[in-house]
Amino acid sequence: MKHTLQQIFRSPRFVFGFSIFMGILLIVLVYPLVITDPPLAIIGQGTFFPPGIYVSVYDSIGSTPYILNLDDAAAKRIAGKLGDEDRLAIKEWLVAVEIPENEIDIADTAKLLDQWVTNYDPAQKISGMTNAKRNYYIRLNKSLEGLLSTEGISIAVKNADTGALEETDIVAPSDYVNINQVPSVRVLPLGTDNFGRDVLTELVAATRVSLQIGFVAGIVATLIGLILGLLAGYVGGVVDDIIMFITNLFTVIPSVVLLILISFSIGQDKRGAFTIAVVIGLTSWYWTTRAVRAQVISLRNRDHVNLSKLSGHSISHIILNDILPYIASYVVMALILQISLGILAEAGLSILGLGPRTTEVPTLGLMMQWAMIYQAQILGKWWAYFPVIVVIALIAFSLNLMNTGLDQIFNPALRD
């Protein structure tokens, strides 16, 4: 046993896959201890807030201001406010008033604004320009004037008695707050999803549930596969024929179809994560059965098994002591593959809307489903779907690497 383990951990593939998987497992276990926010709490009002640090505006007004004189602050502020569309519109105007096109650089905010201020004239009529467009330019000019001013912004509070606004504070363009002194700051490294939930926290919780689903599905499938494979291989005869008939049948009938039919029939209310896991396990055991049976058949007539038979050991004793130890490595490999298949199957089912009930637990598939329903991929909200795909791929990748690593050790023909 010790020797086998040493051998396994000398395989670079296995070690690489194992470390990725353990890394994921570690994050899943440690993250909830550090960040205790409930994963399904809806914190954002609105859909798909981009990743970043969210600072309470209200609290930052109350915090001590620090004056920093930064030269590029104004330029940055304007650059941030001036969208690509506005820049193109400015360029259009400048071209219309006959500024050579190669002198206009829409990426250079300072120069562009300079050209705009000197060349824009609200009274000027450009032939072919619609009224709406002209009004757009007037609005644009107004908003730019606001940006260019160096005056502070007044903070006013409504007087409870008179209803009049009373100025309490002025925020100057050079005022800064220290983010550490603002009481309410929320870091959303992956933004929020379509419901306004913190994607990272949800993703960690989802990974955990998906791994559990994978484990349950894998164990169910491997157990069924192992028992049927042992029976078919060792007992043989009619039992073998019947089991192999069923196995071949399930091999050719696409398991997706069975999964869809069963989970649809179970109904939305009864579909918990655990039920889904068991259903996945029940529809994916046949690969294991085939592999185990083939192994058992090759072992069945070995000398040590025959010796055991002659000594009058019972079938269960022979299977436990003389056969199982020899196929243990294959069973472990099958289990690893089944776990990864289980996670993928859950994701697929959920995308179809046949995954676990949505209200209780997040799973990787459910996150994917909602991202697809809200068209995150078309709207460019990458944080809602891309991390999910990466996590699924990483889990499957690490498990498969472990599997091929084991394969190389236990199947010498594959060694390079």
């Binding site: 071949n248 049948l249 091999t251 050719v252 009938i253 696409p254 398991s255 997706v256 179809v257 069975l258 869809i260 039919l261 069963i262 649809f264 029939s265 179970i266 109904g267 009864k270 990864s340 993928l344 994701a347 697929g348 995308i351 179809l352 809307g353 046949l354 994917m368 697809m372 991929q377 078309i378 460019g380 990458w382 779907y385 795909i389 699924i392 791929a393 499957a396 990748f397 498969n400 690497l401 091929t404 023909a413 594959l414 390079d416």
Partner: protein, 334 residues
């Protein structure tokens, strides 16, 4: 051709048996579940549609069609009769279209997309795997990890990534559908072109997914064969390398064909998700709308159609295998 007769008949028998079993499963599975289908349908009808005459018509039709209050055995014969006639009843979610009509309009999109994509992916994947086993070295060291990673991407993940890169960001291809939304199916140049453009992304994402797994399988097969005794013997005999490689890959190819017959169900399953991501008007998207619309007759019929498709494909592949594998000819000759 006579030599193959036994093999073909054997396979044909197996095909028919699996077909019957798939049929039975399709009938029994939903009925085994707690809560009989009629109750489920009635409750779904109550919550779903606004068109009352539609509800009445469907309910009446469904009760007549499936004879749901009759004993199980009788129901089964009614079901068989209906399926033979291609009559699956009305679709709940797309009333007044019939299920047969919905399937008829989507099945050819799926057949036309998936089978070419899987075959192309299989061919490319096997060539790459064989090359990797033969060339070894840096080609192998680059190709293998890439293949392992790609084959572990779920099919929908690959589809989403392709969609975002080539349709949303680069805008080379449309994001969804089987043809331009402003076109009416016809044999005009603009329609055909639109179909071709819409075809590319779903096609290549299925091809890429298929390549990975096949390359890995072919590589280990080819390595195994390259180390076989007959190769060593042939080398000692001084047979040209090129010729040996030909033998090796023919031998390594055969298990891959069997593998394709066995895994085509899984592949089709994955490809259905690629269809969903691209809203391709095939069976995948039909399943999605059926599930979202709680459309039981449609789900049942689509799953049956997919099963029949997969079984027929795997039957065809086994026929090809029978022709290619000389051992079958030899066995029949005895």
């Amino acid at each position: 051709m006579k030599r193959y007769q036994k093999y073909f008949l054997n396979k044909l028998g197996w095909f028919l048996v699996t077909l019957v079993c798939a049929f039975l499963l399709n009938f029994i599975l939903p009925r085994l579940m707690p809560g009989d289908p009629v109750a489920a349908i009635v409750s779904r009808l109550a919550q779903g549609m606004s068109n009352t005459t539609g509800i009445q018509a469907i309910y009446q039709q469904y009760a007549d069609l499936f004879g749901t209050n009759k004993p199980m055995l009788e129901q089964f014969f009614i079901y068989v009769k209906n399926v033979m006639q291609g009559d699956f009843g009305f679709s709940f979610s797309q009333y007044p279209r019939t299920v047969a009509d919905v399937i008829k309009s989507s099945i050819w999109w799926t057949v036309g997309l998936q089978f070419p994509a899987i075959i192309v992916g299989w061919l490319i994947g096997n060539s790459l795997g064989a090359l990797s086993a033969y060339l070894k070295g840096s080609f192998d060291r680059v190709l293998m990890p890439v293949s392992i990673f790609v084959s572990n991407l779920p099919a929908f993940g690959m589809a989403v990534i392709m969609l975002v890169i080539f349709a949303v960001n680069a805008k080379w291809f449309p994001t969804s559908g089987g043809y331009g939304f402003d076109l009416i199916p016809s044999f005009t140049w603009s329609f055909v072109w639109s179909v071709i453009v819409h075809y590319q992304l779903p096609f290549w994402s299925i091809v890429l997914i298929t390549i990975g797994g096949q390359a890995i399988g072919m590589r280990s097969m080819a390595i195994y064969e390259l180390n076989a005794d007959y190769v060593k013997y042939a080398r000692f005999m001084g047979i040209k390398d090129r010729k040996i490689v030909g033998y090796v890959f023919r031998n390594a190819m055969l298990p891959q064909i069997t593998g394709l017959a066995l895994s085509i169900g899984t592949m089709v399953g994955g490809a259905l998700f690629a269809e969903i991501i691209f809203s391709y008007p095939g069976l995948g998207s039909t399943i999605l709308t059926a599930v979202l619309g709680q459309d039981y007759p449609l789900i049942s019929a689509v799953s049956l159609v997919i099963t029949i498709m997969v079984l027929s494909a795997s039957f065809l592949i086994e026929m090809v295998y029978g022709i290619l594998d000389p051992r079958i000819k030899a066995a029949q000759a005895d």
